[in-house]
């Protein structure tokens, strides 16, 4: 196991290097400059600015400098926001995005598993159809439409929740719901289909014939075994939530990190683009590893170390 984790960590570093390299060169290949405006800057100032941010060096030297700064975990000053460092932006924005993401994942898991379980246990009854209609709606309505819809109904028509901003728990409900809607629907469908599969298995029949009560069968045997696909979906889910929060953060005026992920590109804010990309990559790589480990713990049939032998 430890050996496996060590190997995975090594791969992670390699992946990260590839991401940094590709992002760096793609970013610099894009036309436009962080300092371009309608009024062209006097050449002296332009040159000074470039020297200040190290943009006057050769591209390769900048790349080397950048790799060093990634290792040191110091991404330098933002080119767009004067006096703020990329590390500041990340440490201010990430906790907000993290809280939003966690709330959304929690909602998606809780509601999704519940809906899916209900649908499977009441297969082909009205509960099943209702749950699946909700799921189809959740998957097909994009989160930004869901966000505007929720805002319109709950905040404007009924005035029960605030329209926007990030101040209290009440402010977090709408954005978290909007962000959770698609993964929730997906989880509901996953849970339903895998539960239906599990219910038909011999060991469930055995459990029934042993006289176990149905709640116990459902909780201990059916749901647990049906969770496998859901757990493996957690990796992509985390990445979807983290990178998908941009639209939601914009609509609800939330000062999170998702916003920098996108606006830094239009601003050509090189240091922020790189810093946020590296940060998100590390986060994703780690969460995928954790999901894989959790997977092996839940399902004893999967032995991580065995993969080596293949």
């Amino acid at each position: 196991m430890l050996k496996y984790i060590g190997k995975r960590l090594l791969y992670m570093v390699l992946t990260l290097w590839v991401i940094v390299t590709v992002t760096f060169f793609l970013m610099r290949a894009a036309p436009g400059s962080p300092f371009s405006g309608e009024k062209e800057l006097p050449p002296a100032i332009q040159a000074n600015l470039e020297a200040y941010y190290g943009l006057d060096k050769s591209l390769f030297m900048q790349y080397v400098d950048y790799l060093i700064s990634v290792v040191k975990w110091d991404f330098g000053p933002s080119l767009k926001y004067k006096g703020q460092s990329v590390n500041d932006l990340i440490s201010e924005g990430f906790p907000v995005s993290f809280a939003l993401g966690m709330e959304a994942i929690f909602l998606a898991l809780a509601l999704g598993v519940l809906l899916g379980a209900v649908a499977a246990l009441r297969h082909n009854k009205w509960q099943d159809y209702t749950a699946m209609i909700i799921a189809v709606l959740g998957i097909s309505v994009p989160s930004f439409i869901m966000a505007s819809g929720l805002q319109y109904v709950l905040a404007i028509k009924w005035s029960v929740l605030p329209v926007a901003r990030w101040e209290s728990f009440a402010h977090t409900i709408l954005p978290a719901l909007a962000l959770a809607s698609t993964p929730m629907a997906f989880i509901a469908r996953l849970t339903r289909s895998s539960m239906l599969e599990v219910i038909g298995n011999d060991y469930i029949k055995t459990a029934k014939s042993k006289g176990l009560n149905s709640t116990e069968i459902t909780v201990r045997h059916t749901i647990r075994n049906a969770m496998m696909p859901v757990v493996s979906y957690m990796g992509p889910l985390i990445s979807a939530i983290l990178t998908g929060s941009f639209v939601i953060e914009k609509i609800f005026g939330i000062p999170g990190l998702g916003m920098h992920f996108v606006t830094s590109i239009t601003n050509r804010d090189y240091s922020v683009i790189m810093g946020v990309t590296v940060f998100f990559s590390v986060l994703l790589l780690v969460s995928i590893l954790l999901v894989d480990i959790a997977y092996s713990l839940i399902d004893p049939r999967i032995k991580l170390a065995d993969k080596k032998g293949e």
Binding site: G83, E103, F106, S168, R220
Partner: protein
């Protein structure tokens, strides 16, 4: 074994759930207290009777570039700095510059030397006196090329400022001198009749030199180092989220200030901004702090809540005058005359914009509402097209090189471009292709001349026509059209040394006439500020440039 695994997996699931709950609870607790306060305020704002509640709330959409006046170069920073800082002059409620930090202003006969006396009771928000040295320091700091101020060129009217900024001259030679604590002498390159407008602009604001010398990063956050000399001071700056201003008790004219607090939020979504306004969470939605969604404007107009004010800005199309076919003046005229401007402002932009048949906005030249040509004149356009085709030696319209209209990616620019594409096809029989690129790429293409017709707009920096005309004085810089006219340039040169304001206006009008006759640009419309506001909010001063001062604002 299996049981242990089950236990573990349940624990894992629970710990994830608990962690999520924990996170929520944290953010919940943190914010609940602010929220209850907030709710209280917004309800009382809605009620409107609370004469005591003097809290102004608005959305400034994004994080300001910098709240150091010497570094700021954008409208968002300006919206905040105009409340927190004060220059030698301030644009008063009537739109004329009035004495602010300066209590007396003496001008030499040739208009090239100004002597400002700083008022005795002028103080920084920490109690330090505002001195002439603070002005000298701030201006020279901005001009110092090492400080990378992107708006330093605003100071080029001061003698030797340009040389110092480009590294050719010396900072010591810049024509700004603090004779003593109270007296500031400024020498200019040319007599600049609008110089007192400029001293109200943020690049000309002072900086507390004592603090700035000790702490280079004084402007990065709110706190004891962030001191300002205007009606308000910044008490809180939560980056990318909000800015809070409170009255500056040290301000010399503090009795005029009636608001107890200003809260700026940074929501980069204009639908949300308007929705929050409707819920009473903002007292203002729209320009210049934020913006209104175009789709909402008709309904706001209908219910009578929309306010529209013309501002000094022109939306225009630039022609690349060195590339065929737009190297021919008749072709340029044909394209310009065939645009139905009234149709565009009525059906597309909808926020009360004024069709532009001139370069300089009517807020500066009032007779420019009429302009130099008709809002649309298809016959004349066809005549010019025919003439142009003959001059360039083409057989027919089809023989002309393909024409592409470029704009930076945005829904409103796209709609206008499509409408104009259609007008050119209908009125001139010319097929035009559209091409859009994201702003940073687009601006590069324009500067490099990689375009034929390009969209651009200009919002005045200060209230003088020269600000619009000098864009086309020389090739390069802002003049992506590559058009040059000796006569035009020399008229602008002469106007700089003309001390009689009427004669100067005549010269500038004549220059504008040349520009509109040669037509390197086709003006489309003049910008407006469109907004909705709390009905009880009074005495917000909006200048002709469209910026807003809250110094005198209050709720009734």
């Amino acid at each position: 074994m299996k049981k242990k695994l089950l236990l573990f997996s349940i624990l894992l699931v629970f710990s994830v759930i608990l962690a999520a709950c924990g996170g929520d609870d944290d953010s919940g607790e943190e914010g609940t207290s602010d929220n209850s306060g907030d709710n209280g305020e917004s309800t009382s704002d809605n009620g409107g009777e609370s004469s005591a509640e003097q809290v102004f709330k608005a959305n400034i959409a994004s994080e300001p570039f910098s709240l150091n006046p010497s570094l700021a170069n954008d409208a968002t920073s300006s919206a905040v700095l105009l409340q927190t800082f004060e220059g030698l002059t301030r644009i008063g409620p009537e739109g004329e510059p009035q004495e602010a930090m300066a209590s007396e202003i003496e001008t030499s006969d040739d208009l090239k030397k100004y002597t400002f006396t700083i008022r005795e009771d002028a103080k920084w928000s920490n109690g330090d006196p505002v001195t002439a040295q603070d002005f000298e320091y701030a201006w020279k700091w901005a001009l110092d090329p090492n400080n990378n101020s992107q708006y330093a060129y605003q100071l080029y009217y001061v003698k030797n400022a340009e040389a110092a900024n480009t590294g050719e001259g010396n900072l010591e030679d810049v024509g700004v001198t603090a004779v003593d604590e109270q007296t500031l002498e400024v020498e200019l390159e040319n007599p600049t009749p609008y110089f007192l407008e400029l001293t109200a602009f943020y690049t000309y604001f002072p900086v507390n030199s004592k603090i700035a010398k000790e702490n280079e990063e004084w402007y990065a956050d709110a706190g004891e180092n962030y001191v300002s000399n205007g009606p308000f001071k910044m008490t809180e700056w939560s980056h990318n989220d909000s800015i809070t201003l409170e009255p500056n008790e040290e301000y010399w004219d503090k009795d005029a200030v009636k608001l107890d607090r200003i809260e700026f939020a940074m929501i980069n979504d204009f639908n949300t901004e308007l929705n929050s306004f409707k819920q009473g969470e903002f007292d203002w939605a729209g320009s210049p702090f934020g913006s209104l969604p175009t789709e909402a404007i008709p309904s706001l107009k209908e219910d009578g809540s929309l306010n529209v004010e013309p501002i000094a800005g022109t939306y225009w199309y630039k022609f690349h005058t060195e590339k065929e076919p737009f190297n021919n003046v008749n072709i340029r005229k044909a394209f310009a005359y065939a645009i139905d401007r009234q149709g565009i402002v009525e059906n597309i932009t909808k926020a009360g914009q004024v069709p532009a048949m001139a370069a300089v906005p009517p807020t500066m030249f009032s007779d420019n509402e009429e302009g130099y040509f008709d809002a649309v004149n298809i016959e004349k356009a066809k005549e010019h097209l025919q003439k142009g085709i003959e001059e360039l030696g083409y057989d027919s319209v089809e023989d002309m090189p393909a024409v592409t209209l470029s704009y930076n990616t945005s829904e409103s620019h796209a709609k206008i471009a499509q409408a104009i594409q259609d007008m050119w096809k209908e009125n001139l029989g010319v097929e035009v292709e559209l091409s859009n690129a994201e702003w940073a790429v687009y601006i590069d293409q324009l500067h490099q001349g990689d375009y034929q017709i390009g969209r651009m707009g200009w919002l005045g920096d200060f209230n003088d026509p020269i600000n619009f005309l000098e864009l086309y004085k020389e090739k390069g810089g802002n003049n992506d059209t590559r058009w040059h006219s000796e006569e035009f340039a020399s008229l602008l040169e002469e106007s700089q040394t003309e001390t009689d304001s009427e004669k100067r206006t005549e010269m500038l009008k004549e220059a504008e006439g040349i520009l509109m006759d040669e037509m390197p640009i086709a003006p489309i419309y003049f910008y407006t500020n469109a907004w909705v506001q709390d009905e009880n909010l009074k005495d917000v001063v909006m200048s002709g440039l469209g910026d807003v001062q809250l110094k005198w604002a209050h709720f009734e």
